[in-house]
């Protein structure tokens, strides 16, 4: 109650008369509603058209009231539609993406935690320079790395494999994960570490007993960042894999070019949803923590 009182006192709109207040409220909600149309339209259009018969879409376009709805295009998109020469729908590419994104996320996050721990709590001569080098990796455009990667993947025998993409995303992700974790761990008081060292705890023991239990918020941020980034990545997947070995984001573009006759827009819409769902689900589940982590870093 006290809180509510305080908030009213701070309410910028509470100036002016009652009618004026009501008008401005209405305008605020009207604008919020209008903007949400702009943001929600693509999602609504996708879901609706993934369930409409094709001739209905071809006749009326994507923005139209549906004549009938059916889930069979989802089944087709998942299991039987032909993309890039294989008729297994997107299920195969979906699995490829999981096999790429999960190991790369786990490895880069684990390494980022340990690196961040060293760079914040066990600094040594030259460690700041090393941190600088690692941070530079955040900015390097992918185009600068394409040909060297092609050579390295080739000589390791990892061309056109998911393992090759895991390697690329792990190395590229290390900059982000190390940066995130280091900046988070810096805020942990050094006295805590000092006390533990006096008690005889070593490097790994302090990591396990003190650092890790404090880490869940930054682990959530890092995992969301890495997983969505890797899942959504397109360039590396397109350059270094082809055919049945592509991740789903690259396969979607191949999708547009496959099939004969009229494009199966409804199946394509269903496939597009499937490609969007995992990062969307992760964001909806963990987005609150993500935004908090993001803004804490930015406002500082």
């Amino acid at each position: 109650m006290v809180d509510a009182q305080a908030r009213i006192a701070f309410d910028p709109l509470s100036t002016g008369g009652r009618t004026r207040r009501l008008t401005s409220r209405t305008i605020v909600y009207l604008l919020l509603g209008l903007f949400s149309l702009y943001y929600m339209a693509p999602l609504v259009i996708l879901f609706m058209n993934s369930m409409r018969p094709l001739d209905d879409i071809v006749r009326g376009g994507f923005i139209d009231t549906p004549q009938s709805l059916s889930l069979r295009y989802w089944k087709e998109a998942w299991g039987t539609f032909c993309i890039a020469g294989t008729c297994e729908g997107v299920s195969r590419f979906f699995m490829n993406s999981l096999l790429m994104a999960i190991p790369a996320t786990v490895i880069s996050t684990a390494l980022g935690l340990v690196n961040g721990y060293v760079l914040s709590k066990w600094r040594f001569r030259g460690s700041d320079l090393m941190f600088g080098l690692i941070t530079l990796g955040v900015f390097l455009p992918a185009q600068m790395t394409l040909l060297p990667w092609a050579y390295i993947l080739g000589s390791l025998g990892l061309s056109n494999t998911i393992a090759g993409l895991v390697l690329i995303h792990t190395v590229q992700g290390l900059s982000f994960t190390t940066l995130f974790c280091r900046n988070y761990f810096v805020a942990i008081p050094d006295d805590l570490i000092k006390a533990a060292r006096i008690d005889g705890a070593g490097f790994w023991r302090i990591f396990r007993r003190i650092i890790l239990p404090l880490s869940p918020p930054i682990i959530i941020v890092t995992v969301i960042w890495q997983f969505t980034g890797i899942w959504n990545e397109f360039l590396f997947g397109t350059v270094f894999t082809s055919g049945a070995n592509q991740p789903i984001t690259s396969a979607l573009v191949a999708f547009s070019g496959s099939g004969t006759g009229v494009r199966a827009y409804n199946v394509e819409a269903a496939a597009v949803i499937m490609a969007a769902l995992p990062p969307l689900a992760i964001y909806v589940l963990g987005g609150k923590y993500f935004v908090r982590g993001l803004t804490e870093g930015a406002v500082k």
Binding site: F10, V28, L32, F62, L133, G137, Q143, F203, G287, L294
Partner: protein
């Protein structure tokens, strides 16, 4: 390791190892990042100066590929597009993001619902984003057809197939993707503004609009800078959005540098020129990042000076 025969030498080795443990733990990452950042960059730089065509070739070829690149119409259009798209995308996202943040800041109900609605595009890939917006913008499948079906027979909305307008389609789509991000950070900034400052302005009789424009927004301008730099970086690296939305067309009207790099390297077998184009992307990025990092370190130093 648990042997009781610890001679002084092995003990010192162990102690030595323990002392160096942090370095040893960091070493794999540092080596990988040295390879990635330094070796890869020099490698591509060197390829851009070589005589490589369809296969990498180490012999030195001079700056000829840079000259050829800047003479090609496609590249100059792409670089211009980068600056036009980049500035409209960043300014647009900031304007929309600020407006949304200010609206949400009015103590609205269901705040987390609105925030989720505006921010979810950030989780969606550029390929998915581009595919859906292509359907919406295309005259035969999207808005134009819908308007005509509703009875407005002369309705016309064909920006995506119009050379002069197609880039704005990319901008609108880009803003859809990024403005929620701007909103989230700006909103956090608004919440961090000193309440007394706002109250003082209101007691002085400043209107709501004036309070925001004169007091609140100016006090969080470092956040605008940070968001702008992050988005500019996205803009310089833009690739998949354009591939899914317009494939660089119609003609070359929406081509961006990253598309040219891919084509030169992997479609046309002009590795040296493709590498030169990649180096130019790095240059564009440096043009954004170096002034910003100088500015932040200057700000930090001057802050330290006033606080000290």
């Amino acid at each position: 390791m648990q042997m009781s025969t610890d001679s002084p030498r092995t003990r010192s080795l162990k102690a030595d190892l323990l002392e160096r443990l942090p370095l040893l733990v960091l070493a794999p990452t540092v080596l990988a990042m040295f390879l990635y950042v330094v070796v890869f960059s020099l490698w591509t730089l060197w390829l851009s100066l070589s005589t490589s065509t369809i296969l990498p070739d180490p012999s030195y070829g001079g700056f000829g590929e840079y000259v050829a690149l800047w003479k090609s119409k496609r590249w100059t259009v792409a670089y211009q597009n980068l600056f036009l798209f980049g500035s409209l995308y960043v300014v647009g996202s900031l304007v929309v993001g600020t407006l949304l943040a200010v609206l949400i800041d009015q103590r609205v109900r269901f705040e987390s619902f609105w925030r989720t609605v505006y921010l979810y595009p950030l989780a969606i890939s550029f390929i998915v984003t581009g595919t859906v917006w292509r359907w919406i913008f295309h005259p035969q499948t999207g808005v134009e057809l819908a308007l005509q079906d509703m009875g407005w027979l002369s309705a016309q909305f064909d920006w995506i197939t119009d050379r002069d307008m197609a880039l704005y389609v990319v901008v609108i789509t880009g803003i859809w993707h990024a403005s929620g991000f701007a909103m989230a950070l700006i909103l956090a900034g608004l919440r961090s503004v000193d309440g007394d400052l706002v109250k003082a302005a209101q007691i002085d009789g400043a209107s709501l609009f004036r309070t925001y424009r004169r007091v609140i927004l100016p006090s969080i301008w470092p956040i605008f800078m940070a968001v702008a730099v992050v988005l500019l970086q996205f803009a310089v690296k833009t690739y998949d959005l354009v591939v899914a939305l317009t494939q660089g067309g119609p003609g070359v009207s929406t081509t961006v540098p990253a598309i040219v790099v891919y084509d030169l390297m992997f479609q046309r077998g002009q590795i040296a020129q493709g590498s030169a184009a990649a180096v130019m992307i790095l240059v564009a990025l440096a043009l954004v990042l170096i002034p910003y990092s100088l500015y932040t370190s200057w700000r930090r130093r001057s802050e330290a000076a006033t606080h000290g």
